[in-house]
């Protein structure tokens, strides 16, 4: 079996070295435990010889007690080593989980779009769980077992060189055979992928219960679940069967140790080289040779799983954030920032352009209203402005610099984006507003709620900011307002509202407008809407049609040109008023 040792080492070094002291203690405990383990058959041999030889007057009781004490102390040390190794495993895998979570969280939308949260749980928690055995056992037991094997082979060689030679040969051959049969990690990798897909599907179903029930799709969903289950079963069956080849090989290996002891033991006994006690000791050692090698086998199986997981963890680390941070700090201009788009084109997938050759220029402090039908590219424009994606062609400039030049953290801290899609955590209101940031004082939070006219709502809450937020406790309009309150906690220079008020009823929307007066003061803003009313405060209007600029200009100019689409839209609006 080709073990990707180099890859293991990279992981090991990174996550085990910080725990050097613990690893050292663990090794010491293990060493002591193993030393006593190797010593014990010697005591048994003395004992057997003493019973068989009438001239030997050794005290049998002392030997028996010695045997018991050595065994007790040995297993105590091994238990300590096991505890410490578990601790090391948890600490190192938690560090790995944290790194993975941090890494994937920074990946762009393109990555997360096609991966359900269920799959991410499986990849960050499930795969790493499979690795935890690797972390605890690879170093500790594998090292420990090598030591045990080494100690036993030396003890056998000291007894008789032929024994040493035979069992060394046997160990080498056995290790080769067992590792040869261990090359089935592909099957496990496939199994893990299928499992991730299956649980991803279940997670989606849990998210869609309302849709499923309301449209009577229960039977359809259950049938799909059965299909997913069957696919997983078939992969799992073949992976297990392949894995059991290794198990079979190890059984034959144990058996061979017995056969070897019988053959060599009998002949060395017959020619007087070994005493009966020594033969007994050889048999004892033979099991002790077979045991660590058998443990290797078990670890190989863990490794197969771990290898598959490592491959998937590596794959995850291999995804490079599509958005690369630059150096520049976003300027702290008091009047907002100017915005420029130069021949910007963008497509999510090849050959399906979503935005084509967009040009526009906006001075600092302006408010741009973006109109267009659904699918015209409005939201994509917002995503480019927030740098969720970079355009394939053209430049997006804010404050006179290409977005790519800005330090991403500073850039995003200075730009606020509010979308229709509101995400809340199962946590209290404070954590939902501040995203677990404990440094924001309560007064700021309350002020933000107040500005948005949420005071009455807030005062009705039983536990104030400590009130637990559940999916049922907020209407989607209220959730939208809470999401908006998040923006008021920061001081953005550029604000992008992507249909932020679409879920609000007119009365609430009116309240929001008042709050926006304050928020948009001295800031540049982009307001995306498919309704005219929402863009009333705009100084400029951009109308998109199938990814192209249909119209761009100051609102005044467009409104006063009767042939403009904007003017036509307004007439349509007026017609509705006249009904």
């Amino acid at each position: 079996m080709k073990l990707p040792i180099a890859e293991f080492w990279v992981l090991l070094r990174r996550y085990l070295i910080p725990q050097g002291t613990r690893v050292a203690w663990m090794s010491l405990f293990l060493l002591l435990g193993i030393g006593l383990q190797v010593l014990n058959p010697q005591i048994a041999r003395r004992f057997v010889d003493a019973t068989q030889n009438s001239t030997d007057t050794s005290n049998l009781t002392v030997l028996a007690v010695l045997f018991i004490v050595a065994a007790l102390v040995s297993s105590g040390f091994r238990a300590l080593a096991a505890y410490v190794s578990n601790e090391v495993a948890w600490r190192s895998t938690n560090a790995l989980r944290a790194d993975l979570a941090a890494h994937t969280l920074n990946l762009g939308m393109g990555f997360h779009k096609s991966r359900p949260p269920g799959e991410m749980i499986e990849r960050i928690d499930g795969d790493v769980n499979a690795l935890s055995g690797f972390f605890s056992s690879f170093v500790v037991s594998l090292g420990g077992n090598f030591l045990l094997l080494f100690g036993v082979l030396i003890a056998l060689t000291l007894q008789d060189w032929r024994l040493g030679l035979a069992f060394t040969g046997y160990s080498i051959l056995g290790t080769i055979i067992l590792t040869l049969t261990s090359r089935f990690s592909k099957a496990w990798q496939e199994e893990r992928e299928k499992a991730a897909q299956y649980y991803g599907f279940l997670g989606e179903v849990l998210n869609a219960t309302e849709d499923i029930r309301g449209n009577g799709a229960t039977a359809w969903v259950m049938r799909r679940m059965r299909l997913e289950m069957r696919a997983l079963y078939q992969v799992r069956f073949s992976a297990n069967l392949k894995g059991s080849i290794v198990w079979g090989a190890s059984t034959m290996f144990w058996v061979t140790a017995d056969a070897l002891t019988y053959g060599i033991g009998a002949s060395l006994y017959k020619n007087g080289t070994l005493s009966l006690g020594a033969v007994y000791m050889v048999m004892h050692y033979a099991w002790m040779v077979a045991e660590p090698i058998d443990r290797f086998r078990q670890q190989m199986q863990e490794l197969q799983r771990a290898e598959a997981s490592i491959a998937r963890v590596k794959e995850l680390f291999g995804f490079v954030p599509s958005i690369v941070s630059g150096q520049l700090e976003l300027p702290k201009s008091p009047n907002g920032l100017a915005l420029q788009l130069e021949q910007v084109s963008f497509a999510y997938e090849d050959n399906v352009p979503v935005l084509e050759n967009i040009n526009l220029q906006l001075e600092a402090g302006s408010v741009l209203g973006v109109l267009g039908r659904t699918g015209s590219g409005k939201t994509t424009l917002a995503r480019l402005l927030f740098r969720f994606y970079d355009p394939q062609q053209g430049l997006v400039k804010i404050g006179g610099h290409d977005l790519k030049n800005y330090n991403l953290e500073s850039f995003r801290a200075g730009v606020a984006l509010v979308t229709q899609d509101v995400q809340l955590f199962q946590a209290n209101l404070r954590d939902n507003l501040a995203f677990f940031d404990t440094t924001i004082p309560d007064a700021r939070l309350l002020e933000a709620l107040n500005t948005l006219g949420l005071s009455d709502w807030f005062n009705a809450l039983a536990n104030g900011l400590e009130t637990a937020i559940t999916p049922d406790s907020l209407s989607s309009g209220e959730a939208q307002l809470v999401a908006l309150a998040r923006v008021f906690l920061h001081d953005p220079k550029l604000i992008i509202l992507d249909e932020a008020s679409a879920r609000l009823d007119p009365a609430t929307e009116h309240r929001l407008e008042t709050a926006l007066d304050k928020l948009l003061e001295n800031r540049t803003a982009i307001i995306i809407a498919h309704r005219l009313k929402t863009v009333e405060r705009a100084t400029h209007i951009l109308i998109l049609q199938q990814g192209k600029v249909l119209e761009f200009g100051t609102r005044q100019a467009l409104a006063s040109t009767p042939t403009s689409s904007f003017a036509e839209l307004r007439r349509l609006g007026l017609e509705e008023v006249m009904v």
């Binding site: 007690v65 939308m109 269920g118 058996v255 007994y280 501040a434 609000l504 005219l532």
Partner: protein, 594 residues
Amino acid sequence: MKVSVWFYFGRLIAFSKGWYALNVLFWVGIYTMPLLPGYLSKLFFDALQQENPTWNGLPYTVQMLVGLVLAYGVLHVATLFSGIATNIPWRFRSSGLLRLNIMQRILQMPGAKAFDNTVGETLNTLRDDADEAENAGDWTLDIIGQIAYMVIAIGILLFIDAALTLYVFLPLVIVTLVSYRARNRLEILQKAAREKSSFYTSLLGEVFQSVQAIQVAGAEKTVLHQLELRSQARQRAMLRNVALNQALGVFSSNIVSLGTGLILLLAGSKMRSGEFTVGEFSLFVLYLWEVGHHTEFFGNFIATIQRAGVAFTRMMGVMQGASSQQLVAPQLIEMHQDPAPLEQVVPRAEDALKTFTAQNLTYLHPESNRGIENANLTLEQGEFVVITGRIGSGKTTLLRALLGLLPAQSGQLFWNNQTILEPAEFMIPPRSAYTPQVPALISGTVRENIALGTNQALEPAIHSAVLETDLETLPHALDILVGVRGLKLSGGQLQRTAAARMFAQNSSLLVFDDISSALDVRTEQSLWERVSSLGKTCLVVSHRRPALQRATRIILLEHGQITDTGTLEDLLSRSSEMQRLWADELLPNPNLEV
């Protein structure tokens, strides 16, 4: 009522009787076969000490023993393969049955309240708790095999030296009792560990559900810190568990050494006198060794069963009040053949809506005590009724209660003047279909997501939903994958796909919850025009002009109460709330320069 874990295991075993029987056969074989090499070692030492060794009068040689050992190996391996090949189906059927039953129950509960916990926690139960149960069920096989081994081994030893056997095995009895006493403590620790674990995974799930929001808020660091805190809490809980397990392990593994020491102590003088041979000594130590390992296993077995008990309790929690029989109710699990094709819904005459009535319908959210109270309304065939009101006035809650997606606390529903007994079961195609405010699609093609299993032509539904132009521009449009939760589609496309899904179900009542929030005016206009031409009864939550103007009747909600009902004109003339909603929606901003 809490039933014992053995009830569940009993049902799971009964569900896979044949597989389980085969497993028992093979695994008892796998576990008892090692008795043979132990016995062969006795014969080996006997052979060393005797000129012409015999076994029950039959002469044998060491060479014959070597051959027997190797033959035994081959037989053992063959049994092992058979054991694995029958083990996987048994295991898979167990956890598969649990998962199917849990999911079925979830999909039986009111859709907007299908489970109490987060998606992450519920998924955790579906994944880990079902695995835990599968695993513990499988351990019953190991325990049977190990008991078989112990009974035979101890029988042989008793036959050789009864007194010595009793002295040596006494410590084993003690360890079993001690493990049993540690049981409560272990259960508490395990429960705590599981809770911490799901606390962590549920946040992990939420984080990845909210990646965009987190990036927008620049909250990566604080969120990761919160994750880290929960992950450390889990680590502490897990390690407490390990510590107790290891302490128990030391205790039980030392029992073997203690036993061997006891043999040495007690048999020493007998061995000197030749009453007790080295071969018998070897046999005693070997069997004691194996039995000792098995005792260790008993301790773990108890722990595993306890974990399974916690897992079953959590699964029952997700089952929300279903009986424990339901969790293990037998059903067909397809391992090779295709699942049965879906039955097509054939509308009957009485399914068509003539009138739909709600009387005194009340649903208050337990958390906030808000919702709707005493709602009365009637829909007549062909009507286009709009429910409107401010945010938080209870519009969505009213729709959900009408459709059985929330369990009404009081009130009654009537379809064509017949009482609806089970709204959740009844308010589905061919009677009603529904588009929620935030529709969720499921990974797969656009076609699958619209059809939901129906084999009717989808084109009319796609046309009604004004989705045809979106699809025309893309080749093989219906076979495009929608991505996770439909995220590959734009917001408007997602809503219209959900609408098309509703139209494809051929129901007589169509229920829209604020479908227009991601649609532009023109698209919304054509949507309502096309819907009207279908001649179906429509119930629509909206505060937008195109819907309000088309309404045959408007229902006005304020603070969870229906305060007025009537045509747009009526309401505008008499309701100040309606006037405000209407005015806010329509009046141009005073700053607007024309």
